[in-house]
Amino acid sequence: MAACITCHGREGQATNSGYFPRLAGKPAGYLYEQLRSFRDGRRQQADMSHLLANLSDTYLREMAEYFAALDLPYPPPAPSDLPAAQLARGKAMVFEGDAARGIPACASCHGQALTGVQPGIPGLLGLPRLYIASQLGSWVTGDRRAPAPDCMAEVGRKLNNEDIRAVAGWLAAQPVPADAKPADALPAGVSVACSAMGAHP
């Protein structure tokens, strides 16, 4: 995993400032699918696509499992400079969504603790604000995709800039609970068809 360290840190820990997302402790199925997506053009990041171009599924799966198994402490969140109203809006989107616009709450799929769900749904805490915002933006523009059925694309394209600023700002300002682990399952099951929760080839 030496090739990962200049961006993601020595043990995939990254930092919560800057851009690069933490890898440690994310669900293995999620990480594996992201690696495949970079390689196969569903996610756009030139360095990642270049690095992974000639790597096999087997090797990518092993990389994903390595990072998923790491259990490392999270740094405290960076203080937020967003106005309170915007943070409140972010929190509301995260836990309630916006039924009028058909946007489910983030927590309905990513778990009430927002620490993700096995095997394929990532946690949303402990990530840099810039990274969350750019990912949400790339769901809007269609630059980020997942294999069908692409549930997050359905949600993502309904977001506007205000939503993104508020949600990314609120998420990045939250401390990560001490025992942050992806949940084993969603209590109410997955409400929409989603490749992230299906079997992986």
């Binding site: 200049t6 696509s49 087997t58």
Partner: protein, 424 residues
């Protein structure tokens, strides 16, 4: 003779000359063509032929261009950058409307051997028919049989985005008249069957010269000079010479090691990276032992270029080297060692590494900026990778650290200029 009559005669003479030239161009474009039966019946392929074609398509890495990243296999769509614009590879699946569903074996042979499409259009030599023209009709038919056996994919071909005049058939016709001649592989009786098989694979389907050859200003490879190394068209990668011990020549290697490099992408002394990692991943790792051995035999027997006389050591830019040394200690020594000694099986040594000392530093700049893995192959399933440093080091840093590496531990590479380090 009045001025007016002179003008008329000159114009007439010019017209005749032009007509003759145009005629010559047309004739040169049609030479060596077998008659094509447009009404030939359906192609009855044997299972053996299809399997053979599948293998040959791997040997030629057809999918490398004819499959877009993440796209349907052989359905085309990948853009090939050239100095003249971008050429998009076509759909090779047997879809009637968008692929080669209406082609017959004669059409396919004419494309491979003569570089003309089913409808008679001249094809751009980004499709390397300048090499494929060497392959046998039997192999062409096998490839066609394999492609016909694929599931048809309806995916319209993307129009090339070439600049004028390169986007015209007339310009292409002139190019072909100048630089393309249909050829047939002729075995050399003085050489072994193995050598001849290697020559056929390297010079034909393998189209190694497309990267490892030199190109003129109009993009034509120089077959006479052979595998002397060259820049990839439209990319800042250098495909090193295969006929020179100081570049990527393998004449002095054990044959087994050449086979290993092509099969696994790495040996104790070298690993492939960049575009060659793609070639090993998608093509050569799938070839059988006999064919890899044949390629090795041929490559080892290439007439060897002599190493250039050592140039007088350039004046050392001590400030640059000091800056480079600091960066090296901070960013590189962790893996490559304080003395550039590397770590066997994981991190390549930089001391005495011929890839580090190459006259052309393009690949080094690429590796530092973008990082890279050797391909994951059956023989080397967990390759080590180099991280990208493009977000950590700026162009001047890259020039400094590489200049330091090339001036240290017995290395002899020249200083890297800011201009070389800024190439993307």
């Amino acid at each position: 003779m009045t001025g007016r009559r002179f003008l008329v005669r000159t114009l007439l003479a010019l017209s005749v000359l032009l007509a003759l030239l145009a005629g010559a161009v047309v004739m040169l474009n049609l030479r060596g063509e077998d008659p094509v039966d447009d009404h030939a019946g359906p192609f009855a392929a044997t299972p053996g032929q299809i399997e053979r074609g599948r293998y040959l398509a791997l040997a030629g890495n057809c999918a490398g261009c004819h499959t877009a990243r993440g796209g349907a296999a052989y359905a085309g769509g990948r853009g090939i950058q050239t100095p003249f614009g971008t050429i998009f590879a076509g759909n090779l699946t047997p879809d009637d409307a968008t692929g080669i569903g209406r082609w017959n074996a004669d059409h396919f042979w004419r494309a491979m051997h003569n570089g003309r499409s089913r409808d008679g259009r001249l094809l751009y030599p980004a499709f390397p028919y300048t090499s494929f023209t060497q392959i046998s009709r039997e192999d062409s038919d096998a490839l066609f049989a394999w492609l016909r056996s694929l599931p048809p994919v309806a995916q319209a071909n993307r129009a090339h985005t070439l600049r004028f005049p390169y986007d015209t058939q007339a310009a292409l016709a002139v190019w072909r008249a100048l630089f393309f001649r249909p050829g047939t592989f002729t075995p050399q009786p003085a050489q072994s069957a193995e050598w001849n098989r290697g020559a056929y694979l390297v010079g034909g389907l393998g189209h190694c010269i497309a990267c490892h050859g030199s190109r003129n200003a109009l993009g034509a490879t120089d077959t006479a000079r052979g595998l002397v190394g060259g820049m990839l068209p439209g990319e800042n990668w250098y495909a090193p010479a295969l006929d020179a011990a100081h570049e990527a020549g393998v004449a002095g290697w054990p044959a087994e090691e050449v086979v290993t490099l092509l099969r696994t992408g790495a040996t104790a002394r070298a690993a492939v990276s960049g575009p060659m990692a793609e070639v090993v991943y998608a093509s050569t790792q799938h070839l059988n032992d006999a064919d890899l051995r044949a390629m090795a035999t041929y490559l080892q027997a290439l007439p060897q270029a002599t190493a250039p006389a050592p140039a007088a050591p350039p004046r050392r830019n001590e400030a640059l080297l000091l800056r480079g040394e600091r960066i090296y200690a901070q960013q590189c020594a962790w893996c490559h060692g304080d003395q550039g000694e590397g770590e066997p099986g994981a991190f390549p040594p930089l001391a005495g590494n011929r890839a580090v000392n190459l006259d052309n530093p393009a690949n080094l700049v690429q590796m530092v900026r973008r990082g890279g893995y050797a391909p994951a192959t059956e023989g080397n399933p967990r390759p080590y990778g180099m991280p990208p440093f493009g977000h950590v080091l700026n162009d001047d840093d890259i020039a400094a650290v590489l200049s330091y590496v090339r001036a240290s531990w017995g290395n002899t590479g020249a200083e890297i200029t800011p201009r070389q380090a800024m190439q993307r």
